[in-house]
Amino acid sequence: MTVLVIAEHDNASLKGATLNTVTAAVACGAGDVHVLIAGHNAGAAAAAATQIAGVAKVLHADSDTLAHALAENLAAQVLAAQAANGYSHILFAATAIGKNAAPRVAAKLDVAQISEITKIVSADTFERPIYAGNAIATVQSADAVKVITVRATGFDAAAQGNTAPIETTAAAADSGKSAYKGSELAKNDRPELTAAKIIVSGGRALGSSEKFTEVMTPLADKLGAAIGASRAAVDAGYAPNDLQVGQTGKIVAPQLYIAAGISGAIQHLAGMKDSKVIVAINKDPEAPIFSVADYGLEADLFAAVPELVKSL
């Protein structure tokens, strides 16, 4: 029995979530772990994958049709690997790419998918949050192949130090039904939210997109932190959607999470409560965020955050 991990990468480098997914793959206890790199000119990403501890083999499929991880083509590539090697488990990171392609693979194999697992109980039994993290379901799969998305915060990153062999495989045919037209990626030198060691997050109390930037950016700069936002702040247009931390946004677990002007709706808490240290700055003493914060500061964020920047 072998486990397949679909690597998350940008062709040039591996994304951090791949390492957590490999740890989950090893924990399935089903034997060897293979990593699939499906991309275009992705040799560097494949080389990086060979160094992950616990990986027995890297499968590398390279084609311009795989450049942008289109769900149709990526799923076809995974199905080709499955047909060739008969995996017992197929694991994707629960990222935009993984969540997009994994159910396609599961449906084609006529098996259930187990979404966003946070713990592996045994080779067929997994824990996953439901109802925005208000409950944890333990589910057991009766299917021969387990197609899974892995929530990165539930598993440690796999260590480096390996020289796994690379096997080049043929690229699956293009579906011809969908085409990549372009992307607008936020350009900044900040760490990515899901990989950041420190996150500073702003809520609706910021009041406007100008204030959000004016207050949160200096703090993030000072700490070398990523910037996050509550759903309320995103809904109000103060911050772009890709900064949203919460059950329907990004799930994060940094070393330090600073929430400024965030009341702490359950759907936000679901996205950040696994952070190592949580700081809440809020002028409402009853704000639910204080019930999960290690350090709570009851203060007006417009005074407290600039003061914090000065004293760091």
């Binding site: 449906a107 409950a135 333990t138 992307s183 809904d235 959607n241 890709d242 009851e298």
Partner: protein, 249 residues
């Protein structure tokens, strides 16, 4: 062109669910039920496409217990023209729902299927993608903008780190993200009108779909709690604690 929209009846998003003490699930007896918020966005988008003249008919579909009729009436009050309930008292998991929808796609031949990206009860985020796979249609998940022109759908998607635009041949499957639109308030006259719109009921058996669950829920438990820490009086104390106690900066 017809559009099929899938809607799910879920516990209202304002309700804080409680885990049952015997660990068999969450307590949803006497709890307010509503349309899944992402599905409401899907219905709104379909109705806007009709108002723009791109679409001729909007068909709302729900799979589940007979009370899902209420959810379908809400969809029709937003503006769907007719509704289909695939009635089943059994637990319907995402793969089963995708198969039921695939059977309806084969029957109705819509040019576009719009679904919410995930339901707020099981948080699976699967049905749209599974439906696309079963029907061999292209997909655009997590949509924040949809444009239909010249037999193609151009969809902007919310991805990690920003936005991505895809062009899909039609028919296609689209799943909605939060910022695609803001659903309208349903007005009383439209609620009254919706009561007269046609609602057809079918069964999984009539569609030839086996809905037996593939996943067994072994138990449902409360998430591990996190203890509240301490309140600090001022910024200086906070910085001191972070530096010397937590040692995170």
């Amino acid at each position: 062109m017809k559009v099929l929209v899938a809607v799910k009846r879920v516990v209202d998003y304002n309700v804080k669910v409680r885990v049952k003490s015997d660990g068999t699930g969450v307590d949803i007896a006497n709890v307010k039920m509503s349309m899944n918020p992402f599905d409401e966005i899907a219905v709104e988008e379909a109705v806007r496409l009709k108002e723009k003249g791109v679409v001729t008919e909007v068909i709302a579909v729900s799979c589940g217990v007979s009370q899902c009729q209420e959810t379908l009436r809400t969809a029709m009050a937003i503006g769907a023209d007719r509704a289909i309930l695939v009635e089943s008292a059994d637990e319907l998991q995402p793969l089963a729902v995708a198969k039921l929808l695939a059977a309806l796609v084969a029957k109705e031949q819509p040019g576009l299927v719009i679904l919410g990206k995930q339901a707020i009860d099981d948080d699976a985020n699967q049905v749209g993608q599974m439906l696309a796979a079963l029907t061999d249609l292209p997909q655009a998940t997590f949509a924040s903008k949809v444009e239909i022109a010249e037999g193609k759908a151009t969809v902007t998607r919310e991805i990690d780190g920003g936005l991505e635009t895809l062009a899909l041949s039609l028919p296609a499957v689209v799943t909605t993200d939060l910022r695609l639109n803001e659903p309208r308030y349903v007005t009383l006259p439209n609620i009254m009108k919706a009561k007269k719109k046609p609602l057809e009921t079918v069964t999984p058996a009539a569609l030839g779909v086996d809905v037996a669950p593939r996943l067994k829920t072994v138990k449902v438990s409360e998430p591990a709690g996190r203890k509240a820490g301490i309140k600090v009086p001022d910024v200086a104390t906070l910085v001191d604690k972070l530096k010397n106690e937590a040692k995170v900066i």
